[in-house]
């Protein structure tokens, strides 16, 4: 691979002072970025740093608000909807875009079938697919159906598809997130083969060790700003983590009231095992806010759903208020005083086609009965109380929940959960996709609940949130708890190091 600095190679694709706003919310600020032929250029940054947006702009899926894109030395406007593929810029999405029922060969040629008068030349396509897969040195049967392949093989098919389109720039969004170590090695071999042929690779990853192993250069983004573009050889895990984090705590968060040292343990989890999680053990004390940090997919939601009985096949011990319990469904966990607030507001939390009232009381309809009938007047009173308590703002009570803003939906969901008067509340991404003002309100509600003696598990991918609210933090990685942080140890660097798996390897 050629050197990157001072080499007389011109960038194949470059972003010049790119800015992007969604509505009034800016997400990228004047980013300069380029990638050379035959180079691997990695982008790292926290969730929400702007990595995905930058990728989408570089592949035409989003248009920049200002700034220009240069491709092959010329200033261009990239066509939308993946049409930039025809120009040689291919984005491989994190959730792979393959039709599960098609064969490998059909997937590779999808939309560009070799045909004469509408009749496909199957034999030629098969030969070409075989040749293509051979050049990649992967033993995938071109006649296999996509849904019989492993995730790694599917990724190889995506790569083969990209090559068959003569990709000159290949953009990969967290390609290794779902791969095993061995599969990752195979992927890296492919990437090296591609770069040897002059293909430029842009690579997003949360795994710093891989980035340093594979990339020539690394660009660090934080809060939509370009922090630095450095040679990978000049980077250590520590400097990378420092660059990715390092903001100041704002006054978004209410002051922390540590629970009493002798506060009783209300929830004790021992050796919890379920699909995707292993040997989860922790205690939650009364009045405590216990943060759960980790990357997306590290198993935090799986832990919550295993505890409240949403998952089948759960092993391990659960002790609530000193009594061993097992919850087979949500009704049982609610009866046990434990409620779970899903992160998927619209998909799992609220009936978006219905009004506020039926949504609020859905969990607790049995408390609004007169005889066998639902007492709507009692429901309306509950709604009035919830609207006041959680400051839910709706134009009027008849609007459908889908028409509310994300923040008001979240507050309604909180109200719905609190209707069941739980003692232990597991909140999964309680501020995802809502504005900062409402976030602050929710932070204060969470702190107030804890001060009242409720015990809270806070799952969040926003480190600031975990740090600003939690009395104690568990960090998860690959379905396991890899660290427990308390007091001053609750800081971004510590959490990032744990969730990246570098703690212990490169301790400062």
């Amino acid at each position: 691979m050629s050197g990157t600095e001072g080499a007389p190679v011109a960038p194949i694709l470059a972003a010049n002072r790119i800015s992007k706003s969604f509505g009034e919310i800016p997400v990228l600020f004047s980013i300069d970025f380029d990638v050379l032929p035959g180079e691997v250029h990695a982008i790292i940054g926290e969730n929400g740093a702007g990595k995905s947006t930058l990728m989408k702009i570089l592949s035409g899926f989003e248009q920049p608000t200002s700034g220009t894109i240069t491709y092959d030395g010329k200033t261009v406007t990239l066509p939308p909807y993946g049409e930039a593929e025809a120009m040689g810029i291919v984005l491989i999405h994190q959730e792979l875009n393959l039709a599960e029922h098609l064969k490998v060969v059909d997937s590779i040629f999808l939309g560009r079938e070799i045909a004469r008068a509408g009749i496909m030349n199957k034999r030629l396509m098969l030969e070409k697919a075989k040749a293509l897969l051979n050049t990649l040195h992967v033993g995938i049967d071109p006649n296999a159906r996509i849904d019989t392949l492993t995730v790694a093989d599917k990724q190889m098919v995506e790569i083969a598809k990209a090559i068959s389109r003569d990709a000159r720039v290949l953009i990969m969004d967290e390609p290794t997130a779902v791969l095993s170590l061995a599969e990752t090695q195979t992927l890296f071999e492919q990437i090296r083969r591609l770069t040897a042929r002059g293909v430029a690779i842009i690579f997003i990853s949360h795994k710093l060790d891989e980035v340093m192993h594979l990339a020539n250069r690394v660009t660090v983004l934080r809060d939509g700003q370009l922090i630095a573009t450095v040679d990978a050889s000049a980077l250590t895990p520590d400097t990378a983590a420092q660059m990715m984090v390092g903001r100041e705590l704002s006054n978004l968060y209410p002051p922390k009231h540590e629970p009493d040292v002798d506060a009783p343990v209300v929830l004790s989890v021992r050796h919890l095992e379920a699909r995707g999680i292993h040997d989860i053990s922790f205690d939650l004390r009364q009045g405590e806010i216990l943060g759960f940090a980790g990357l997306v997919g590290s198993g935090r939601t799986a832990v919550a759903e295993a505890i409240v009985g949403l998952t089948q096949g759960v092993a391990g011990e659960l002790v609530v208020n000193g009594r061993p319990v097992h919850f087979g469904n949500v009704a049982q966990s609610l009866a046990g005083g434990l409620a779970y607030l899903t992160k998927d507001r619209k998909g799992k939390g609220l009936l978006v086609n219905m009004g506020l009232r039926p949504n609020l009381t859905l969990l607790t309809l049995n408390r609004h009965l007169r005889g066998v009938f639902v007492d709507t007047a009692s429901e309306s009173r509950a709604l009035e109380r919830a609207v006041r308590r959680f400051d839910i703002r709706a134009r009027d009570a008849s609007v459908r929940v889908g028409q509310l803003s994300g923040g008001n939906q979240q507050k309604l969901m909180l109200g719905k959960t609190m209707e069941s008067e739980p003692e232990i509340i597991i909140m999964d991404e309680p501020t995802r996709g809502i504005d900062v003002g409402t976030k602050q309100q929710i932070y204060h509600i969470i702190a107030a609940l804890a001060a009242e003696g409720k015990s809270i598990i806070l799952i969040s991918s926003e480190l600031q949130e975990v740090i600003g609210l939690s009395h104690r933090v568990m960090v998860m990685r690959f379905g396991r708890i890899v660290g427990e942080l308390e007091g001053a140890a609750i800081n971004e660097e510590q959490i990032v190091r744990h969730q990246m798996g570098i703690e212990g390897k490169a301790a400062a």
Binding site: L310, N329, V330, A331, L334, Y340, T342, D344, G347, K348, G349, L350, L351, V352, N353, M354, P358, L362, L363, L365, N366, L369, V372, F373, V374, R395, D396, S398, K416
Partner: protein, 334 residues
């Protein structure tokens, strides 16, 4: 300023809502006007009572279908299940007559058997959908075939006839009148009122709508999704049984062409009535109007000579498609 805006918005919405709710009623009125133009006696009490009484079989089934469809399910087997139950009832009554005579006890036995078989048939559909995790479309398409074959088999390709003496005891249940109102209309009305209350005022009804609106949300909200689903199919089966209970005294026989395409009529009535095909919202009174609309269309086709009454089911088929199209355009407009 804010107050005026706040007042204006709900007013507009309320109007639109009322228009949507009024749709079936307007169609009903238009059909009545059309019927009167064709025949001066159309609006006579006798003719209307006759129409409603005839619609009571489909009506009972459509009420059950409203529950199933509101929960996001579908039951295509109702027609052949009704034929099968009618056949079973005739066999059971005929078999019991030699031992127990042709009195009300035998008829009651037949009625109970009909309701029980209906509930069991519904439970079979429901269990395959919930425990078996099979699409309701496939489950009930399969049971549609099974029930239809069973009635043909039971009748040995011909017709099962109810014992004459038992028929005499039984027939007042269809032809009788209380305060001048035909018995089937009373049964239909009572079932409709109870069903409307169940759907609107009980936790069961609320849970049905929640599951139809979003099954995941229901599951995360501590609702026993499978049990509620199962119960909608049991209820549907029970009401199919009730329809058969009214059918047997009217016709006194059952064969392989009994109740053919009743599923089309029942589902069409539900959709015309404003229940959303994808689930989440249902209204029984709408279904009742939908059933009567379909019966009126059939009646009007018989009154005129321009369009062949043989095309009746083509109208039903077209109506169901148009009604769903209208539902969809309303959704996209929102």
């Amino acid at each position: 300023m804010t107050t005026t805006a706040g007042e204006a918005a709900p007013q507009i919405r309320r109007q639109r809502l009322r228009l949507g709710a009024l749709g079936p009623i307007i169609a009903l009125v238009l059909l009545m006007v059309l019927g009167t133009l064709l025949n001066g006696n159309f609006l006579s009490f006798g003719n209307l009572a006759n129409i409603v009484a005839r619609s009571s079989f489909i009506g009972l089934i459509a009420i059950g279908a409203t529950f199933v469809i509101t929960s996001g399910g579908l039951d295509l087997s109702v027609g052949s299940m009704a034929a099968f139950i009618a056949g079973m009832m005739i066999i059971i009554i005929n078999g019991a007559v030699p031992g127990l005579g042709a009195g009300w006890s035998v008829v009651a036995l037949g009625i109970l058997a009909g309701l029980a078989i209906g509930a069991l048939g519904g439970a079979a559909n429901g269990l395959l959908v919930t425990i078996g995790r099979i699409e309701p479309f496939i489950v009930t398409l399969g049971s549609l075939g099974i029930f239809r074959a069973l009635i043909t088999f039971l009748a040995n390709g011909g017709t099962l006839n109810l014992n004459m003496a038992a028929n005499e005891t039984y027939s007042p249940l269809y032809s009788g009148k209380i305060f001048d109102i035909p018995v089937p209309i009373i049964i239909f009305a009572v079932v409709a009122i109870v069903a409307e209350i169940v759907l609107r005022r009980t936790t069961f009804g609320r849970h049905i709508a929640a599951i139809g609106s979003n099954e995941q949300v229901a599951r995360y909200s501590a609702i026993k999704v499978d049990l509620v689903r199962l119960m909608t199919y049991v209820l549907q089966g029970l009401l199919v049984g009730a329809a058969a209970v009214l059918y047997v005294p009217k016709f006194g026989s059952a064969n392989s062409s009994t109740a053919v395409l009743w599923e089309l009529q029942a589902i069409a009535a539900v959709i015309i009535g404003g229940t959303t095909l994808r689930g989440g919202f249902g209204r029984i009174w709408g279904t009742v109007i939908g059933v009567i609309i379909l019966e009126l269309i059939g009646n009007i086709l018989n009154l005129q000579s321009l369009i062949s009454p043989y095309l009746n089911q083509a109208f039903q088929g077209a109506i169901i498609i148009i009604a769903v199209l209208l539902q969809r355009s309303r959704r996209t407009a929102n």
